[in-house]
Symmetry: C2
Subunit: 381 residues, 2 copies
């Protein structure tokens, strides 16, 4: 069926705003930005712990391979973001800071003015393009006290274009199933700010074996990232966070990691664990399927019709109303075509939506923007 | 559509035959079988490295919780297996040794007569129930030389009821992408023995966080197991094993772990990695989708319609011809009903097949047994 067309919305699109780049440039440890002189015309962005050895080598041996990735204008330029949106006919973007967010700040730094600076930088960018840009704020999760985080939620809520928060899987340092994080989730639920959950740490390199160097970043990015997200959200589920904070809404990156595919096995494992099953019954816990359809939204960044159909089916009878298109810009630029033109990575995900939901259908239209517009209230208040 | 009914075949069903139990009972280190005296009427089966601390505690403190799981007759009794098959209307079972197989043997033990003893034990059991039992053999992967493994493949092929081999993800100790394992895969392809790939190690416990003790075995079993399988098979894919050994056939446990859901992301990550893409083009490597439909079969042990549909769709246009029902017996016994009756875990997977492919359809019939019968040639030769 066809219907009046919704705006196209990209809910998974990152930036490192100028203030954030300054922080990274001043750092000696990963994450950092560094210029390797004549070896490279762009400064390099080095984010992952796995890049420590190559960074150390490059600092000692000028001829060694340059670590990280080029910090192109795609990471920090608002003009570039708007150009990318126009090229791909994206009407609205919900910007978020990319990983590792502010998770590396010392407690003192996180408790100072810096986090607000970043969020204000996003608000400023949104105001330059009314109706086209909104953002997910970043919380100072390593702060000296929970109160600092709660205050940051209040401040973020006060910013006109803030529509949620982005969060990694570390929480206060012990993961998202940490009981000390429940007050933060409660405050987010109260403020009606959904959490966009995004991976950063992946899995320990040991699981990728001695030949991993031959495979580039494929194993950590294609497998480690979605597996990290899945583990984080299942830990939340098993700890009872969703039942303790029924108002909490989570948007899971990469269509939930692997949660849609594994939900049945998770449910079966709970049903076959005596102690856990007893606790679930006593506390009247809901099934993972109920949580998926009542508190979880999935983005559409899964690069296949197969994955997208599973994501929709896992989200309940009206699963197509819970899916939100995203691009993951500025990551995964095209290798063989002009970066200023259309990106293959965007095309793969848009094509998956068309194939899974039907070209020109109302459902595809909702996934491409209607759902995000409705759920995140993407209009000027 | 309806059709003449195929036999119901269970391709994912384990046993620890008597010879194997003797080995485990004689061991001091995990894996082992141990009786904790008055504390427990059954001896306990302790398999996982994660159980080391609880084993050590139980050996020192008599009142400590008993580690592992009861070694019930379901693990070692052929009569119990036949009863289970009859109860669930399973016509044929393709038995396999359960993890950790023979992966813990010293090189000397693996190179001696012991591995053949285990395979002969399976052959003996199959001969007791003609037409109802076949098996996947176990290879002495830790042997002193590759030749010992190759000889074992020849011997296994000579056993009348052997229809493939079961394998974990360790290979010769460095994973399944180890170049030294290619001759083994070539010999298996030559012998037309498919590899049933099954997890054992899971992921390092560090990923489950400080509260993991509250979640029983759910995280390692529901997430670690399928993630381990996925990582292993993707490492094989990236190393080019499938292209190097086009005759190799793999049957992936738990519907491929998470491979059907992540295949699109894997493909996209390869397309966006310059060095890897160049190598793939030079070597004319196939896509992960091609490998899935040409060299991979998936079992149906995924406990949900959502997962099963994704498994079928990921296996190509005729994906329903590549799916094979399994039970994972004797694991996941029912907690609240008689173990001699119907098992909920079996019902969940059979129901998923009916829902995904249509009650009474030809496709459901093939998934429940027709495919396994055809692919594994489950008839007396």
């Amino acid at each position: 069926m066809t219907a009046s067309k919704s705006k196209v919305v990209d809910i998974h699109t990152h930036m490192y705003p100028p203030e954030y780049i300054s922080i990274l440039t001043s750092r000696q440890n990963i994450p950092l930005v560094r210029n390797f002189g004549d070896n490279s015309k762009d400064p390099r962005l080095i984010l992952l712990e796995a890049e420590v050895p190559s960074l150390q080598l490059a600092l000692q041996v000028p001829s060694a391979p340059i670590p990280g990735r080029p910090l192109t204008s795609h990471y920090a330029s608002l003009g570039q973001k708007i150009h990318f949106m126009d090229t791909h006919k994206i009407d609205i973007s919900v910007l978020s800071l990319a990983n590792p967010w502010l998770d590396f700040l010392t407690p003192e730094e996180a408790s100072g003015p810096l986090p607000a600076t970043i969020n204000n930088d996003f608000e400023r960018m949104c105001q330059l393009h009314p109706g086209r840009l909104y953002f997910f704020a970043t919380l100072p999760l390593t702060a000296l006290s929970t109160q600092v985080i709660l205050d940051s939620i209040t401040s973020s809520k006060g910013l006109k274009h803030c529509r949620g928060v982005i969060m990694g899987t570390s929480g206060l340092g012990k993961g998202l199933d940490d009981p000390n994080l429940v007050p933060v989730f409660k405050a987010l639920a109260e403020a009606e700010l959904p959490v966009f959950l995004h991976p950063h740490n992946g899995l320990p390199n040991s699981v990728y074996g001695p030949q991993q160097k031959d495979y580039g970043h494929v194993l950590p990015l294609a497998l480690g990232f979605p597996m990290e997200t899945t583990i984080a959200v299942v830990r939340m589920y098993l700890a009872g966070v969703f039942d303790a904070v029924p108002g909490l809404r989570m948007i899971l990156a990469h269509s939930g990691g692997t949660l849609p595919f594994l939900a049945g096995r998770i449910e079966s494992c709970v049903l076959h664990d005596g102690a856990l099953l007893k606790k679930f019954k006593e506390e009247k816990r809901r099934s993972v399927w109920d949580v998926l359809k009542e508190q979880v939204y999935l983005d559409a960044v899964v690069y296949s019709e197969v994955g997208l159909k599973a994501a929709i089916a896992a989200s309940g009878e009206k699963g197509e109303e819970r899916l939100m298109f995203g691009t993951d810009h500025p990551f995964f630029p095209p290798l063989e075509t002009d970066e200023q033109g259309e990106w293959e990575s965007v095309g793969l995900n848009a094509q998956a939506v068309r194939k899974a939901l039907g070209e020109g259908s109302k459902e595809a239209d909702m996934a491409m923007g209607g759902n995000a517009f409705r759920v995140l209230k993407l209009f000027e208040k």
